[in-house]
Symmetry: C2
Subunit: 435 residues, 2 copies
Amino acid sequence: MYLCLNVKKKIFQYNDPIDTSIMKYIFQCNDCKAEYSSREWQYLCPECSKTNINELPPKGVLKCVYDYPAIARKGIQQLVGSHFIDLYPIEDERNMPTLRIGRTPLYESIFELHGKSIKLYIKDDSQNPTFSFKDRASAMVSAYAKEHNIQTIVAASTGNAGSSIAGIAASQGQQAIVLVPAKAPPAKLTQILLYGAKIVAVDGSYDEAFDLSIEASKAFGWFNRNTAYNPLTIEGKKTVSFEIWEQMKGEIPDIIFVPAGDGAIISGVYKGFEELLFLGLIDRIPKIVAVQAEGSPNIVNNRFSQKPVFIKSNTLADSISVTIPRNYYMTQDYLYKYAGDGILVKDKEILTAIAGLASRYGLFAEPAAATAFAGMKKYLTENDVEKNKRCLVLLTGSGLKDIQSVQNSIHLPAPVKPDLKELQKQLDYNKAPGQ
Amino acid sequence: MYLCLNVKKKIFQYNDPIDTSIMKYIFQCNDCKAEYSSREWQYLCPECSKTNINELPPKGVLKCVYDYPAIARKGIQQLVGSHFIDLYPIEDERNMPTLRIGRTPLYESIFELHGKSIKLYIKDDSQNPTFSFKDRASAMVSAYAKEHNIQTIVAASTGNAGSSIAGIAASQGQQAIVLVPAKAPPAKLTQILLYGAKIVAVDGSYDEAFDLSIEASKAFGWFNRNTAYNPLTIEGKKTVSFEIWEQMKGEIPDIIFVPAGDGAIISGVYKGFEELLFLGLIDRIPKIVAVQAEGSPNIVNNRFSQKPVFIKSNTLADSISVTIPRNYYMTQDYLYKYAGDGILVKDKEILTAIAGLASRYGLFAEPAAATAFAGMKKYLTENDVEKNKRCLVLLTGSGLKDIQSVQNSIHLPAPVKPDLKELQKQLDYNKAPGQ
């Protein structure tokens, strides 16, 4: 059933089923589909990454593949009752952080647009320990490290991934080392440092920090959390799909809007639903729409490309400002395989979406997260979506993470004397222009 | 059983039991103990606030008092199964925001100090929709307003209470108006404005903004959320005690450390446990320790005073920087009645506590929240607390709310070239001084 060709040790022969007494999952290359034993750790497919070394985006990103028929035979109650542990690349749930990872709220409402009612679900992943979706990935990486007695985890990141691994590692008694480009703004690094992570400011670009982190993890035996490099980040990210399925009581949304930078979150969301499909728990995959800023359109613009052309990114939504999407090939495959879609929004629309989410739902999202909401509005406007379709927007991080970028878009009123008439005057003034 | 004297309408006679077919709860003055029908809205005790008008702290703060024997007779399963609705000043749970209010994680660990093991519980209330404990109070106020068709809620606040009512009101389709002193830093106001609240910057002190908000609510029929003025804020805050009791499966902590500003959170925590005691669900009240910054010691220093002396507050923990604690009398009563305690910590200890919570537990707390943790460490050092005592620390808000105040306490390393040796050198350097 599951093929396994370990190019190094040849433990398994081609065509062998997974012997789950020996291993729970195998690694499969997203590109050449070669399979590798998980008994020996593997970051990238040695074949595909060999031919593509130093080329971006990288080929040879690996997926963890489980023995789905065996898991299906055990039944849904076993799976849900054991918190999906059979679909995780760890043996013992107790190696997961004790922090509440995921289990974030799913809010349901009706969204009216151009006289059409859409059933809108908002998955608020700002409600995570470090206030972003990235904790799902960090938790899985950290749990694996704990299970394998690896004490140090390294990551290259300027933002949410860095603070996430710093916080999660801290909670597990592990040391995180975060490599950042020297130009990263100090405010973003405060959270990382407070968690007790070591920050190395690299005098160079993000890509140089990324490469150095890989070198360092090889040289010092650190576990590397980098996206589209460590296959476990996708394993963490896929948990959101299981949760959505559970919270919707076995139903799934029709369309899911996901903010896209390097494509790792989309891939995670797809992999989660794909596994539910493999297990027969759902009978189709939701349409997933990748939403990007117009200034960082490299997945959406190249989603059908044979020869992708990447432009230098520039958007205020910095968590998804990505020139070369490192998980590009896997994302492209998923979007193709399950008829996904893509849409671009302007920075101005992102700012409007932040205000819309906050003022309508009381949800204060960071720009990248609000991008998904902006994408939904645009997509519903431009496409003939049937009414009563269930749309889900994935909010990936808290607005408190990036106050700066929205501060310019708001206007503080002039002070008034502590007097009732003055107060009234100002409120009337507030109301006046076009309200 | 429950006395009720409505000084305005005399619906009820003194000594009458509550007729729950007529009303679910009554208001009772914290100070003169007079009781008032809840069929007519009441902010402060008309008697006590009349004699004390313009005097601070105010007397005559009201408590909601329920028919505890009747609730007890219905049984614990009914109470828990209906999410404690019998103890809330609203009729229908559906008037509560659909946002996930409370239900925050309770983390359990062992804290070693001077060779003693303490069982440490941390209640992480940064995991609320607007990322602070204040959402519990805002939710109750908003639900009441919804139930009584009040569309506008006003509050005087510079920080968490303001952004909380702005977010919660937004989610309920209500209009929030937040009065702030003109000097409030714009970053703090960004979240409030994005939620669609109207901000009125008052050219004056916090107290003047407070008074103006009260005037305005009287003049315009707005509902006023001010702490130690609207009795429902305590009703929201008490929910944390019910949750702790549930999460500890009917047990309670021995000591609870609560950050204190105006005393409203402490009063809420006490009232929750007191009601569990009234219902026979617990048999004692935990020792509650009010923790304040040395620069804002006005509850701790005056907790036994007949004639309190308040000094001008000055601490980096701005959510608890309070010169005149508006809920002073109720807090003092509770601390006296249930043998509570108080402790002061230095700003430096607060900063150390922020780093300690983050680096040890992966919990990034705002200064006010970390104050409780600092207080616990100090209290356990100074007092002979038996080992295996269960201590709980209440974290009231996210560290992302106030990056500025901690930024000065961290040190960014100098950049290194993207080179393995340089990296190693910096990490060794990081390790060198005393580690």
